[in-house]
Symmetry: C2
Subunit: 210 residues, 2 copies
């Protein structure tokens, strides 16, 4: 298996977290998003969307981080990334999608560029935009954690929702979102950040990190 | 089971399609998004995000359409919404996420409002924005259909990806996106639109449609 990613891509980081949690090794091939390598013919052949991550496996290329992670969870079931019961699985998936669907795509590099280039947003406008959607999503997750969480977003076992949370909190800090309203999320983050699997997956510890 | 939705919400429509395809009946309760009912205390208690759809089941409330649909697919397995093999499942999930993560959240009502109210976008600016992300996502799906599709986006059995496609094409027309570049997608749509399950799920045939 080959993972095409980028050190600071939230979505690629999610896949690294799933792999590390399961102890599965893959070959990592960096795609330099800032240099535009995602628009190269090679990468577009793997993923017409021109996004990372992409997992190459068995002659196929799987895109979309949550699809890759679901695939990994089926092929390498231990430890599982979802609870054993159907309702628990639904709740964890919904928490993951709050970030993966309603927060992260709105803050993507290509979206920020469009806000500036087409709509004339300045730095302050882009920051308000990012804070709006990150703040909204994290507030929902904080409530989720209050209702369902323990050491992790759902109970005490790290899983799909936590995998989405860690990169989003990193992103929030990168864009200076105040985080004091999310004590539960910060508590979960500090528990998880100390683990080997979270440390080895962190952007700062990737082959292409500066 | 109670489905809280809205006739023209793409995400609620996806859930209706899954239910209808499986022949599962639920009680539908409309949440009038234009009137702001999604911000009512009742609805926020069900879903702190203030979005539809929400499925109430066994005393719990599940939000996020793809989480609801995955739950339904586990509880009512026939007909399945994903292929039998792990790679096929990964590909169908990735196609669904192209729409559910990278297209639809960017065109949401609350996002359109922010573009206007905070960034000062005019009608033309909002339209360019919507066309950019819809066009980009549908182009990726057209390639996906060319590679993996038959009568449906993946082979000949309707599933999760088709469930995401139908509402997105409706949205594209609503915002006048030119569709002639997507012949495969239009072919799949016309096949599926003629089925009973697609017809009964259509926004025009809901209790709250005008």
């Amino acid at each position: 298996m080959i993972l095409h990613g980028y050190w600071r891509s939230s979505a690629a980081w999610r896949v690294r977290l799933a792999l590390a949690l399961k102890g599965v090794a893959v070959e990592q091939r960096p795609v330099n998003l800032v240099a535009g390598a995602q628009r190269s013919a090679d990468h577009l052949a793997r993923n017409p969307q021109g996004l990372v991550p992409v997992l190459e496996v068995d002659g196929a290329a799987i895109s979309q981080s949550l699809a890759i992670i679901a695939y990994l969870d089926e092929r390498f079931p231990m430890p599982p990334l979802l609870p054993a019961d159907a309702l628990g699985r639904a709740l964890v998936r919904s928490a993951a999608l709050i970030i993966a669907a309603d927060v992260h795509p709105l803050g993507n590099l290509r979206v920020q560029r469009w806000l500036r280039d087409d709509l004339g947003a300045d730095d302050a406008g882009v920051t308000r935009w990012l804070h709006q959607w990150m703040g909204d999503g994290l507030a929902s997750l904080e409530q989720f954690a209050r209702q369902h969480g323990g050491n992790c977003l759902y109970g005490d076992q790290p899983g799909l929702a936590d995998i989405c949370l860690l990169p989003q909190l990193y992103n929030a800090r990168r864009f200076a979102l105040p985080l004091e309203g999310f004590p539960r999320l910060l508590g979960i983050e500090s528990q998880l950040a100390a683990t080997d699997w979270a440390r080895s997956s962190h952007p700062d510890n990737q082959p292409d990190s500066p």
